[in-house]
């Protein structure tokens, strides 16, 4: 009985506070002359977005502008998560390397990056590193038609042409066959101890698939678009803007240092005896890592790694400080134009909560698949 009463009292107090706050909000907004409501999302945005991955023009609605921002956030987060994982795993293994110099270099990287604010690092990438690049006319030529200038990075990009569908089908078939054969041969190797060279066989199959697609396709599958200097900027090829490059570099370097610590902790959590037992069974160092250590380390790594992915997605909102038009940047512009405080905040919060929830969900599913199955 006491439980029910105390909970009812708690709820009543909460509702009372909420009601007072809401009354304040309504009164303050009425004084400002801004009614509550989401109708403004259908109005014309009338501001330009420099970097839109989906078609957008100023005459589109606020809702559309916001969608452009969300797509930009997803681009940064997707690229960032992949690259940060690669960098983090390499640095994490580097911190446990038998090589003294590699250990020192990776330790210096992790300690410098982890102990300074991300925002400061983003400023350094945007204004000191990328901001000081020469104009497109004097672009730094990295070889192979890749140019670096203060307009961003441009590189040649294969654009799908007529024969693309046939080629892609053959390549996918090759990939599927390669994966199946690799697993099968590795299994035979582990069961019988015969050297079956699974890696080599898989690679050969993949190459065969790619080549077959090229031969079978009625027309060339790609047209390579190369960047050419035209006037003040490059034409053709694929380009990444300075803002995008600086943001992704900053997020990758920062999150990579945290992932490195997660990976290091995970590998160190595997009992030393496991390494020794695997080696005693005659497994090579690479196989010891792949078959014995990593599956056990992953169980420890996945939950904190998920946190790092979530942090990367949330940290991508710092794009606003270096002028990349992500979800938060666009929302802030919308707020500045419409003065819709409560609605803008609600939209931003709902967006990032959705990102976080989906990421957690996917990583939890993956986590379940690597956890120890106990009876």
């Amino acid at each position: 009985m006491l439980r029910v009463i105390s909970q009812a009292a708690f709820l009543a107090a909460l509702v009372a506070v909420g009601a007072v706050l809401y009354a304040n909000l309504v009164r303050n907004l009425r004084q400002l002359g801004i009614p509550l409501g989401f109708e403004f999302l259908g109005l014309e945005a009338a501001f330009a977005i420099g970097e839109a991955a989906i078609p957008y023009q100023p005459s589109d609605t606020y809702a559309r502008a916001f969608l452009v921002g969300v797509v930009n956030t997803l681009r940064v987060a997707g690229v960032g998560i992949v690259l940060a994982t690669v960098l983090g795993v390499l640095a994490g293994i580097g911190r446990l390397s038998g090589n003294w110099l590699i250990r020192q270099i990776t330790a210096a990287y992790v300690e410098i990056v982890r102990n300074t604010p991300l925002l400061l690092q983003l400023f350094v990438w945007a204004f000191v590193v990328f901001g000081r690049l020469p104009t497109p006319q004097r672009a730094i030529h990295l070889g192979g038609n890749v140019y670096l200038s203060n307009r961003g990075v441009v590189l040649p990009w294969p654009e799908p042409a007529e024969g693309f569908a046939v080629w892609a089908a053959a390549a996918l078939a090759g990939l599927a066959a390669a994966i199946w054969v690799y697993r099968r041969l590795l299994w035979i190797k582990l069961e019988s101890g015969r050297g079956t060279r699974p890696g080599l066989a898989a690679l050969a199959l993949l190459a065969a698939g790619l080549a077959a697609g090229w031969v079978l396709a009625p027309a060339p599958p790609f047209v390579i678009s190369t960047p050419v200097l035209a006037g003040f900027n490059f034409q053709g090829g694929a380009g990444l803007t300075i803002q995008f490059s600086a943001l992704v570099t900053g997020l990758v370097v920062y999150t990579g240092a945290f992932i490195a610590e997660v990976v290091r902790g995970g590998i160190q959590s595997v009992d030393r005896g496991q390494f020794e037992a695997a080696a005693a069974l005659g497994l090579r160092p690479a196989l010891v890592m792949r078959l014995v250590v990593l599956p056990q380390a992953l169980r420890v790594i996945i939950p904190p790694l998920t946190n790092q992915y979530l942090n990367l997605i949330k940290n991508s909102s710092l794009a606003v400080a270096i002028g990349f038009e992500d979800a938060f940047f666009v929302a802030r512009t919308v707020f500045n134009q419409t003065g819709k405080t409560f609605e803008t905040v609600a939209v931003i919060m709902a967006t990032y909560l959705t990102f976080s929830l989906i990421t957690s969900l996917l990583m939890n599913l993956y986590n379940r698949s690597v956890q120890l199955v106990e009876r």
């Binding site: 300074t116 925002l119 350094v124 710092l318």
Partner: protein
């Protein structure tokens, strides 16, 4: 000597051919980066931008004739750090517990208690010292605070206020009452699911709208509110970890002794839970310290914000590298020494070692 050196080189740098390759590659990269940085720092860089703006970077627009108050606060804090260092780096209770003969009289736990109380008193004392009470000390409004002073005040006030709030939330989330649990969980998950910069932005534009007329906190207070709301959710999750680490038997034993629920929580569960999570809370504080840099985005002049406004001065146009390197070093020194101290503390408390 030479034999051991050669041996060390072989064992640590040239064990296999790919290790040798990595070593050579690492040396090349280190040399390329290191020599350039050293040449730039000694010859290329113009450090005037830092030298001329040191006071600005330290305290922002704090009245120059009141600077002694900042110095006094620094003195209090360094004194406390020194005293803590002395007390905690001596063998105390731990060695006796391990069964060794005490080679000197046990440091009185009284000294430590006094110190803890002094630390707790230091926060309000310094706040009053910096802000003024309007009578003896003239009031320095928060919008005059700036630079490193503002960064540190945001971090200290942020953690001091979010700690009790976080503990309450953690207790709420582990409560047996479903309504309390649901509300606490919703709060924690909401604030952990959104970026800090959106929370800061929201408190800047929304807070005044939710408050009655006449209550109009300034930008710094609104930023503090954002930091506290955000940080409390993270503190709560850390503390909850500590609560879960307290064995169930402790609670049952307390009940058997006739302690009420409230007494059990405050006298039995919380002390053990908090002790277990002290290192994690220090980590929380370090990340809050770094996160305060985000207030620069909502227009405050903290250490990073003031650096950006110095860069807007035509005299120092383009001096990004010098200023950012200096600011990064300040942040680094604070963060690194705090994490170093926390690792020592962890070892002293023997958390995880028992």
């Amino acid at each position: 000597m030479t034999v051991t050196a050669v041996r060390w080189l072989r064992d640590n740098l040239f064990t296999t051919w790919y290790n040798a390759l990595l070593t050579v590659l690492g040396l090349a990269v280190t040399w390329a980066v290191g020599s350039r940085v050293v040449r730039w720092a000694l010859a290329g860089a113009d450090w005037q931008v830092v030298v001329n703006n040191l006071t600005l970077l330290a305290v922002g627009a704090y009245p120059r004739d009141q600077l002694w108050r900042v110095w006094a606060s620094v003195l209090v804090v360094t004194g406390l750090i020194g005293a803590s260092w002395r007390l905690w780096s001596r063998p105390g209770l731990e060695t006796h517990r391990a069964g060794q003969a005490p080679d000197r009289p046990p440091e009185s736990t009284l000294g430590r208690r006094v110190l803890v109380v002094a630390w707790l008193l230091a926060v309000p004392l310094i706040t009053v010292l910096i802000h003024g009470d309007g009578a003896v000390l003239s009031t320095v409004r928060t919008d005059r605070w700036g630079g490193l002073l503002l960064t540190l005040m945001l971090a200290v006030v942020g953690i001091a206020a979010s700690f009790p709030f976080g503990v309450v939330l953690a207790l709420g989330r582990s409560s047996a009452l479903p309504v309390v649990r649901a509300v606490s969980t919703a709060y924690i998950e909401l604030f952990r699911g959104v970026p800090l910069v959106t929370v800061l932005f929201s408190t800047q534009i929304l807070l005044t709208l939710f408050l009655p007329e006449g209550l109009r906190p300034d930008r710094v207070l609104r930023a503090m509110a954002g930091l506290v709301l955000f940080s409390a959710a993270y503190v709560a999750e850390t503390v909850r970890g500590g609560l879960q680490s307290v064995p169930r038997g402790q609670i049952e034993a307390a009940h058997a002794l006739g302690l009420s629920n409230l007494q059990t929580t405050t006298l039995i569960v919380l002390p053990q839970a908090l002790r277990a999570v002290i290192p994690a809370l220090v980590g929380q504080f370090i990340s809050l310290f770094k996160d305060t840099a985000l207030v620069a985005i909502v227009g405050l002049h903290d250490l990073l914000g003031i650096a950006n406004s110095v860069l807007a001065n035509p005299n120092y146009l383009g001096r990004y590298a010098e200023l950012y390197v200096f600011v990064a070093m300040v942040y680094w020194i604070f963060s690194y020494s705090m994490s170093h101290a926390s690792r020592r503390l962890e070892r002293r408390l023997g958390v995880g070692g028992r």
